[in-house]
Amino acid sequence: MRKRILPILKRSVAWTRNHKLRMVGLVLILVATMPDAGKGQFLDPCCAMLAAGLTTISNRLNNVVGGGLNTILSVDKSISDFEQQVVWPQGLISQARALVGSLEGTFHQIQALTQIKVNSATLPGSQQLEQNLLSRNPSQIVQTTAAYNALYGTVPSATDASSELRDLVDMTDAAAQTAMKRAIEIDSLADLELEAAGQITQSVQNAAPGSAPILEAQADAWLIRANAYTQAATADLMRLDAVDLADSSAELKMGASSTANLRQGLINLLEHN
């Protein structure tokens, strides 16, 4: 083996001596193109600095970012606790919903009370008018006048009564009939209000604290409407009273006029005798 290697080495050395330029070129190329060696963690100063830098960054992140976030978290947690325990406690919200449910039961009883039949007339004419007046159906209003006239009669003809009396009778009949018709309307409106109030109460049962005020606003609007209807009914009652007072006053005036006529008639009668 040794005998084989030694001649090869001798020939290589000889070739190298003869081709110095080529060898120098090859060595240069080898040095220039040789891949870089990997850098060790412990021996390279760059890695140490990098580690120190990363450690500093980590510490800063822990102190500045972590500490800041922890402070924010603690404030947020206290806000969350406050909201859950003081502002929107689930237990009290459920309790309020349950109360609304029980109120709904109470209001069903009230609604049932308003539906009770109170008819009391016994004769056909009065039964017909009473049925019409208690119908709570606005489409029945067209029949009110006929039922009214059947019971209370119509305005006397021009040959049967003076024009003053006929005016008085007609106005009083009109006021009475209008009031009866308005009573049918008001009954019907009140039924619709009760229905709407029931719907709102049912919605409140399924509402959230954030949506309940919207329902409250809706209920407020209905309350304003209901107040307006109450005022309309009160206005009609006042109109009826006003007509009634005017009626009494007219009777007084007509009485005075009749007395004057009677006096004149008696004077004429005495003069003839």
Binding site: T33, L69, I93, A121, V169, M180, D241
Partner: protein, 278 residues
């Protein structure tokens, strides 16, 4: 991966070395070497960053952490703390919430029983048996004794006259008057019952208010407002009954006036006939 790079490199370098060692002329060798060096120079990757760049990068990151991030976090923290203070001291101060609850309880104690006792004062004033029975029935807040009410009413105000005892007009009007009176008395019995229920509902809402939270109170206010709508509806029904009753009273009086006109006409005819006969 790294082994593959080394193997590839050795293979290529061996080929190149063979090529160089087998060139004939010196100039060709020089040219080949220069060409190879130029190619290597052109293809070589850029040098790695120096240590000074790394330090600057770390300092830049630290600057961002100590500057922008710290300022932002402090700002967020301040805002959240301000929100918490706003909630606790302005929007929902616990002391004022407790005070409102206590006030509700105090008002319950102060007014509820007093007002109930005022409303329940005995108003009955009739002295004779029939009126006493009727008075008791019209004030008992019950709706299951309408028949008794009708009987007590007839006992006090008497029944409609028999056909032989009164004209059909008088009988009809009396029947209508009585009917509307009874309708209203029945309506009022039902309304009294409804009033009792409304008062119960008001008590319930007030009880709940004394324990409510700001987040549960809107449920109570919405329900209470809906109750107010119902209350208005009941008031309207009572007004409607009042309208019917007043209208009937006026119609009755007007009917008497119409009949008066007829009687006057008839009387005038009788008097004329009488005078003519004389």
């Amino acid at each position: 991966m790294r082994l593959a790079v080394y193997v590839g490199y050795l293979t290529l370098f061996s080929l190149f070395a063979w090529f160089v060692t087998n060139l004939g002329r010196r100039r060709q060798v020089v040219a080949a070497v220069i060409a190879a060096l130029l190619l290597i120079h052109l293809a070589a990757p850029p040098p790695a960053a120096a240590q000074g760049g790394l330090i600057a990068a770390v300092q830049a990151v630290l600057k961002v952490i100590n500057g922008a991030i710290e300022i932002a976090l402090n700002g967020i923290n301040n805002v959240r703390a301000a929100v918490r203070n706003l909630y606790r001291s302005v929007a929902w101060p616990v002391e004022l919430i407790a005070q409102a609850r206590a006030e509700a309880l105090q008002m319950i104690g102060q007014y509820r029983n007093l007002m109930a006792s005022i409303l329940n004062v005995n108003l009955k004033s009739a002295t004779l048996p029939a009126p006493r029975a009727l008075e008791s029935l019209i004030r008992d807040h019950r709706i299951n004794n309408f028949t008794s009410l009708g009987q007590a009413f007839a006992n006090t105000y008497r029944a409609i006259p028999a056909p032989a005892d009164a004209s059909p007009e008088d009988r009809a009007m009396a029947d209508m008057d009585d009917a509307l009176v009874l309708d209203n008395l029945k309506t009022l019995k039902a309304a009294d019952g409804a009033t009792d229920l409304e008062l119960q509902a008001a008590d319930s809402v007030e009880n709940a208010a004394s324990q409510a939270a700001p987040g549960s109170a809107p449920f109570l206010t919405a329900a209470a407002t809906a109750s107010s709508v119902r209350s208005q509806a009941l008031t309207q029904k009572m007004l409607a009954a009042e309208l019917r009753q007043e209208a009937a009273r006026m119609a009755h009086r007007n009917e008497l006036r119409k009949r008066g006109a007829t009687f006057t006409l008839q009387l005038r005819g009788v008097l004329i006939n009488l005078l003519q006969h004389n």
